[in-house]
Symmetry: none
DNA sequence: ACGGGTGAACTTGTCAGACAGCTGGACAGC
DNA sequence: GCTGTCCAGCTGTCTGACAAGTTCACCCGT
């Protein structure tokens, strides 16, 4: 399958920028020069630059030139924020099977990490730090599932949740319950039972959801 | 601050696509027609289309035109690629509940878009184009779920899958089966039944998985 | 009749050349 | 030293042209 010249130039530029061969802040050669270098017309260069601009890698200023403003695709451009309702609805569908797989595939170092987090949470008094550990626990479970998709999605959800402060309002009572539920999940994962781990996670999320629901206010009807 | 015509056109197109005014699977007007509509030259239109392509919203095929392949920005621009095994394992956990929610929440324009894709798939002979439409169908179902997390994750999986050519090897026989299964999913969504839509999607994914499994050969190499 | 080849009419891909508008800096005049 | 002008270089846009890929109706030989 033939690829267009514009796409070839785009890929070359993107690679050069992402690999740091062209450092952030510097300006690219002018369109005319690039056209000569790549042996194509200016239109082709311009189309390639528009692609780089769309990804947030570069920025073109009239009369001046095109400048590298980032060596990674802009996340903000791509990732929308998720609503609390969407997060609560989606979590179980991903984390429950992830916990099950974790029970089947966890390595020794996975278990070690999980135990460490669970212990730390028990002794943690500061609510903010506790919430961080909570997020770390869920991410670690997903990571232990050995499935990159689960791990990636949960990591993304964790980022989105971190920006929602409702979790902080969980009363100390609820935190203790969560600690016990986490311990139960960990035990099931240690034991290697898909069913039990998945069930323990499901129960946990259901508990958290109802606790959060009473805080947020259940206006999720459509 | 003057903005370039190309950027104006790009934003207009992007908004139209993301808001569903141009549904997934459909083709845009030709560059010449767009140029007349926007009152600009073809170069401007082409630069705007390159931006849309870079974001994974559209795809341009030589001699045919530019087609909308997603109404959300491609996530794998940012995130890493996933292995085939991970994708196959994770898909049902996300797409099944997404189909169920779609049955409860789909709008009229959601249904219209889905019908369009299903019809187009029946008449599509080119395997590559068919796979694109298949991906568009699954993304549209997730989009109709009204849950940004589902839509985002499926969009991400779609992008990752598009880069795995195994799907292309599906024989025509399997494609016809898929078309029927898609029709069944669509019918359940139209009917508004969570259970039926979820079940239809689950069956469909199971069928596809076994078909793919026999091609790939069950080994977990990426 | 009918299957297959063929070309016309579209589409995108690329090129070359032109000119307007913007920007920064050199330079002359005060 | 300060200011205003001018110019070289850049991006933004347009135009017209042709190559190459795609589609589909039409025609020709059987």
């Amino acid at each position: 399958m033939r690829v267009s010249a514009a796409e070839t130039v785009f890929k070359a530029l993107r690679e050069a920028i992402e690999e740091g061969k062209i450092s952030v802040g510097t300006g690219l050669d002018s369109e005319a020069v690039l056209a000569r270098q790549f042996g194509v017309s200016r239109s082709v260069i311009r189309e390639a630059l528009r692609s780089c601009n769309a990804l947030g890698l570069t920025e073109t200023r009239t009369g001046r030139g095109t400048f590298v403003i980032s060596n990674t695709v802009a996340r903000d451009l791509v990732l929308g924020r998720y609503s609390a309702r969407d997060l609560i609805e989606a979590r179980p569908h991903i984390e429950v099977p992830a916990a099950g797989r974790a029970a089947q595939r966890r390595t020794d170092s996975d278990l070690e990490a999980l135990r460490g987090i669970v212990e730390a949470m028990v002794e943690e008094d500061d609510p903010e730090a506790w919430v961080s550990l909570d997020a770390a626990f869920h991410a670690a479970v997903a990571g232990a599932s050995g499935n990159g998709v689960f791990a990636g999605v949960v990591a993304e959800l964790r980022d989105a949740m971190a920006n929602q402060s409702e979790t902080l309002n969980l009363v100390a009572d609820r935190r203790e319950k969560s600690n016990r539920e986490h311990a139960r999940i960990l035990a099931a994962i240690e034991q290697g039972s898909y069913e039990e781990a998945a069930h323990a996670m499901e129960m946990h999320l259901r508990e958290v959801e109802s606790a959060l629901g009473s805080i947020i206010g259940e206006d999720n009807n459509d």
